[in-house]
Subunit: 484 residues, 2 copies
């Protein structure tokens, strides 16, 4: 873990801090403090790291030490820095803030904040009856010690049956129950990726997958998705052959954040290439339940797997609810056993009650998932209409499923826009969160998981600051490297 | 992760395989296969690892290749090995087996097996009403995305209040909710222990803590507990000063497995020494709720902490139920924020429903914990009486709390005894599971978490095989190195 950030690093993260947010000209120290708060709130500047000494930062930014001193004082007053005499200052966050998905921090009880940082919806009505029924079912298990690292048999049965119904024969021994898709990924990485091992990911990709890979100190290479057309088969397979990664992490169904759906042909070629290069192919199926408007899904990637090269991970966050922390790994039975053995040292297993709730929700899968798809299609259409009306310069491909639009902005303004939007009550996950090293400033992810009226209001608010931002800040922008 | 085991390694693990279990003389190949099954079932031989080629193992053991071939065939027939032409053979387990706590594998639905591998009891009667009430409380949260990496505010409040009641002032910002104590340890290790960092632990200690440390590739040094008297203050503080570990993991309350309780004086000196050596002191309070028979607890270790050197971890597995996967970290607020940020890449957060159940159980803490203590005291006494009657040669100190007796056997027979006991329906965690590198063969952990009649029956069964084992195998035993 990083425990301190040097002056040059922080200066690079801050970029054009003095022109942001730009709507009302503020003193330099206030602009600097605001930019640091922005980096903290979108997770690019970690919590608990020591910031550079005032003199060092002043030198790196080419400004006076007095400005840095005043900025640090302002950050201390707002509880974004904590200092101890002789030991320096650390980044913190004021009380009452919490971490949300994608590493964003959101204030609790801020009811006026529209959170577009999270591609997750409210829970379905079926959840409370399922929880009630699970509570009544609990006595069957109370005589045991309650540990089950592979998962309850009946939940493994249900997940295996769902894979089989999707066309890939699966036995319960091939299923490991986890605390959500994120843990599924983390466990697989722990088993398969030693420090420094080469890993291939898409860019843009899911920020928390990047976080898990960073924790493994993986050597990451990327395949850039075209925002309009998605994967380029030749480039993707070429990247596999060239880097021969230990593992590749891909999201073939309604890729997060771009929304693209991988063709059956590429799936088949991908599995063959992974076999040839000795690569473990980790396929994140978080959005597989959510094709919209008659979209037909290609076969699961695992269908093409003859050599146990494919590890599928999935969970209930997107089609059901994020507060249900149940996900799974589908892999060969021996790999599942190794993951379960590893898991005893990680967290022993998933809670019994939660698994019983999941069993009941999966029994109702057809009703719950159908309703969620109808809801998401309506929300997507509302978001698209609002974007075309209020932000007509933004470009995007209409997603055929999933929960996210990946919009190309009319300038490399994503981080600036996120900071400005926060001031008018919209939380955004800026483009750079989905890539490596501050690229993707020309893009933003817009999830359509919230109710239509919230999405429309959010777009209006974004549009209001977008044009403000434009007038004040545009002339000063440099174009950073963009991967698209 | 280990992916293959060499001939010499496996030979070392197998030890005196040809004299075990020794009750009925079987052919060499069957004895060898049985010994491998024993290593698999107690977790010392991991699953999914490639075993040596037949020729290599034959050479390492100094036996004929025919014997190894027949043993491997037997293991394949019982589904403990899976082979693929040209690629070798991997360890597996038959279907219907699952991982239990402490890395042990137990068959599902084996109702006649008395599981003494696990120091965990059945759930309290209050659990089902708590689950029902939590289900009714769920609607408050359903409009949110459901992610809370630090934990629900009301649960953090309750845990902080419990610490304050124990005499160590604690704010909710100092609490991170985790999936059980094991995840609390794993997260702390991830943040604080880079690969190769020096770590100090007790020996014997909790096997799953050793597993978590092994996953971090920590450089482990040990402080040996005296089975009769526990920690030696001078040796423990000397070990700290000498090795200056990055982190020390200790269990001061009813140490698992020895049951010892650390004095207030040593707690205070330990914190001062950790401050002097720059060591993070991780204190596992799993058993702190369980003093028995009027035992008075010293102040929590964190009481003596003036410099944020102490990280306390705890959970609900022992006083409540292992199937409730709720634990916590108590640390400085900045460290809690860093752990929460890390956790987003690990598993996002704990389930909402499970946390609501925990809130309700903690409200009933007095009733639940008092009943558990009464129950454990009765069970401890029943186990002690049975041991004195049926296995009078075994030595132990009567624990004043917790759930485990650490018995010194009348020979270095712990692993052999565990294998033999399994045949008569008793699962045991042999001594070497609680230490490093196969030592502690003279000891066994006997938890008293099960009903008294099961404990008495288990002791009778153990005694029956103990003396059988003695007659057949004793003359052939070598004494391995023992840390005590």
């Amino acid at each position: 873990m990083t425990t301190s950030v040097r002056g040059g690093q922080l200066a690079r993260l801050l970029g054009q801090w003095h022109s942001l947010p730009g709507r009302h000209r503020s003193p330099d120290y206030a602009a600097l403090a605001g930019a640091v708060r922005g980096l903290l709130s979108d997770g690019r500047l970690p919590l608990g790291v020591r910031v550079p000494a005032e003199r060092e930062l002043a030198e790196s930014l080419g400004i006076s030490r007095t400005t840095v001193t005043a900025a640090y004082r302002s950050l201390r007053e707002s509880n974004h820095l904590t200092s101890r005499r002789g030991a320096g200052s650390w980044t913190t966050l004021p009380n009452g803030h919490r971490v949300a998905t994608s590493g964003l921090w959101t204030p609790i009880d801020d009811l006026d904040m529209i959170d577009l940082g999270v591609a997750a919806s409210a829970a379905p009505a079926e959840l409370v009856p399922a929880a009630r029924a699970a509570a009544e079912d609990l006595p069957r298990f109370l005589g045991s010690a309650g540990y089950n690292p592979t998962g309850l048999g009946e939940l493994r049965d249900a997940v295996a049956a769902a894979y089989t119904a999707r066309g890939v024969r699966t036995s319960p021994e091939q299923i490991l129950i986890t605390n959500g898709t994120q843990q599924a990924l983390d466990l697989v990485l722990r088993l398969s990726v030693p420090a420094g091992a080469p890993v291939l990911v898409e860019t843009p990709t899911y920020p928390n997958a990047l976080a898990a890979l960073a924790a493994r100190r993986a050597r990451i290479s990327t395949h850039g998705l075209d925002s309009a057309t998605g994967w380029d088969a030749e480039l993707l397979l070429g990247a596999l052959r060239q880097t021969r990664p230990r593992l590749a992490y891909l999201i073939p169904e309604f890729q997060n954040p771009t929304g693209h759906l991988m063709s059956a042909e590429l799936r088949e070629r991908l599995v063959a290439a992974a076999h040839a290069t000795g690569t473990e192919l980790v396929v994140d199926e978080s959005f597989v339940d959510l094709p919209l408007g008659g979209t037909v899904l290609p076969p699961p990637v695992a269908v093409f797997d003859r050599h146990s090269r494919v590890v599928s991970i999935g969970g209930m966050s997107k089609a059901y609810w994020g507060g249900i922390r149940i996900g799974w790994v589908r892999a060969s039975a021996p790999l599942v056993q190794r993951l379960a053995a590893l898991r005893v040292g990680v967290d022993m297993g998933s809670p019994v009650l939660e698994q019983l709730v999941a069993v009941r929700l999966l029994r109702d899968a057809t009703a719950i998932v159908t309703a969620r798809r109808t809801q998401l299609a309506e929300r997507r259409d509302a978001l698209v209409t609002a974007l075309r009306e209020h932000l007509p310069e933004w470009q995007f491909t209409l997603p055929t499923g999933g929960a996210t639009i990946w919009a190309e902005l009319d300038g490399p303004i994503s981080s600036a826009l996120a900071r400005a939007a926060e001031e008018v009550g919209v939380r955004l996950a800026p483009g750079p969160r989905f890539g490596l090293d501050g690229t993707l400033e020309r893009f933003i992810r817009l999830p359509y998981a919230l109710p239509a009226e919230d999405l429309i209001e959010a777009v209006k608010r974004i549009a209001s600051v977008r044009y403000d931002l434009d007038r004040a800040a545009r002339p000063e922008w440099r174009t950073p490297a963009v991967i698209a």
